[in-house]
Amino acid sequence: MDAQPLKITDASDSSLLVVFGDVVSPDLHCRVMAMFRAFLAQHDPRIRNLHPGYASLLIDFDPLRLTHDELAATARELASRDDSEHSTSSRFITIPVCYDSDFAPDLLDVAQHAGISVNEVVRLHSSSDYLVYFLGFSPGFAYLGGLPPILQMPRLATPRTSVPAGSVGIAGIQTGIYPVDSPGGWRLIGRTPLRMFDPEATPPTRLQPGDTMRFFPIDRATFDDLRRSPARQPS
């Protein structure tokens, strides 16, 4: 791996930002995940929160019990390890999506923007493997990389004030699923019947940083069926 030098910045008096690079790439993501998982595995009570990003890891900690210098040294040490134990995820998740027009107000626009048919958008969207770079924006919202370039389209100029939970959207190079009802500006092309965020579940989110996932198309009857009987939802 061509290891770029780490850039470590004091982001605040209680946090450190470790930057691995400035592009979206599976290799950099791999290094972010290795450090993220190594810190998780340490269960250090002085570290309060870990925020992975596309090519960075923000570490929030208690500055009365740990110094920036100590933490930076630990980060450098973890980065220098050839850490195959923490670098790969074994999880592969499949998510059913109904691309029915009721759930896909922007599907036609995406097809026209790409200059292909709606069916071809669905086929392309559901035949790629996506990498969960990180979760952010709202609880359980996964930033997925790997969208076929032809499907890339800028977000809406004016975000919708309400997007229903389960909506699948496209924004720039990204695709994603809204886990909870929220405002949002992504182009909506379908909906999953699965609950992506369940605060009572362990873990509470269906997708985790570092997972690989794929969408598969379902018809409306299957969507309704899965919606009605959550017990049949795959875990």
């Binding site: 605040s12 930002l17 930057v19 090519a55 929030d60 009365l64 924006f137 873990p203």
Partner: protein, 312 residues
């Protein structure tokens, strides 16, 4: 043992000191916007400082108590009355069965905290009783209180009631500039941008809530408008969107974002952010990371001294 919400006030939620360890799932720490006042309120009724209590914003709640209870109010003054008799802030007091406790508008800040002996009985989700508005979970049914909600008193331990001598916490009401350290993308900004940030008073706009405070004043721009790869956001980060008007990311913040962060409010001053109201003015001043950590240590020591002096 129930408490009925007669009027919920402007925005009243159950909070504790926050939910840590889930930021990588997009779940922010949340918790009391002014953790300092929150802790005081709990300590006054003898609770552990993290017991679930009410955070009341701008206009307080009116509550009817079916049985007697012991409560304390700390934070912004809100002209609290029990059966139309004024009750003091920063002191635990007894409420008789059938009484109505009414809190008014906050006078010198944005938020008041109402703690009850033994805490409020709400489920602990992901290690916290805090209400997560964006995720619609935690606290009381994952939302702000509404008229006719019925709250139950919890079973948290209590070590007896206390009071603070009047004026003890006056020094928290300061109009000094908010202290900040340079932010994660400090090298995106020229010295002139920092000069702009530190030279004017910003006004807190109405579009401010627990997720962030939108300010208006000197526009601040990075050297060039290149795109930042989305990265993690620390509590108190001051991010600058395209229009150059700073936003302070607050307790219910997004865990990641794509705007450059020029500065960050220090931990020791975050409780003051929780007391800012729309139309309030704020100024920023820069301190070093070392000074920021020392300020947090001093603040902790100051609180400990107060607790000892007041026989907590």
């Amino acid at each position: 043992m129930t408490i009925r919400v007669v009027e919920p006030g402007f925005f009243t939620t159950v909070q504790d000191l926050g939910r840590y360890g889930y930021a990588h799932l997009g779940i922010s720490a949340g918790g009391a916007a002014d953790p300092f006042s929150f802790r005081i309120a709990n300590l006054l009724v003898g609770n552990e400082e993290n017991a679930p209590a009410l955070e009341m914003t701008l206009r307080g709640a009116t509550l009817e108590f079916a049985e007697s209870a012991v409560v304390a109010i700390a934070g912004a003054d809100c002209d609290c009355e029990c059966d139309s008799v004024s009750v003091p802030a920063n002191t635990a007091f007894q409420i008789r069965a059938g009484s109505v406790l009414r809190s008014g508008s906050t006078r010198n800040g944005a938020r008041s905290y109402l703690a009850i002996q033994h805490g409020f009985d709400v489920p602990v989700i992901m290690g916290s009783a805090s209400t997560a508005i964006a995720g619609r979970f935690g606290g009381f049914r994952g939302r702000r209180l509404q008229k006719d909600d019925v709250l139950q008193i919890g079973k948290h331990g209590s070590s007896g009631i206390r009071s603070l001598r009047p004026g003890t916490l006056d020094s928290l009401q300061t109009s000094h500039p908010l202290r900040v350290t340079k932010g994660a993308q400090q090298d995106w900004f020229a010295p002139e941008a920092f000069a702009k940030l530190f030279s004017c008073a910003y006004v807190v706009t109405e579009q401010s809530d627990r997720s962030g405070l939108r300010l208006t004043g000197n526009a601040v721009h990075p050297r060039n408008q290149s795109n930042l790869l989305t990265d993690g956001i620390p509590l108190g980060a001051i991010q600058v969107p395209q229009d150059g008007q700073p936003i302070i990311l607050f307790v219910d913040q997004q865990t990641t974002g794509g705007y450059p962060k020029i500065a960050n409010v220090i931990a020791a001053d975050m409780h003051r952010v929780g007391q800012l109201r729309p139309r309030d003015q704020v100024q920023f001043t820069e301190v070093s990371i070392a000074d920021a950590v020392q300020a947090l240590l001093d603040q902790q020591q100051w609180l400990n001294d107060i607790l000892v002096r007041n026989n907590f």
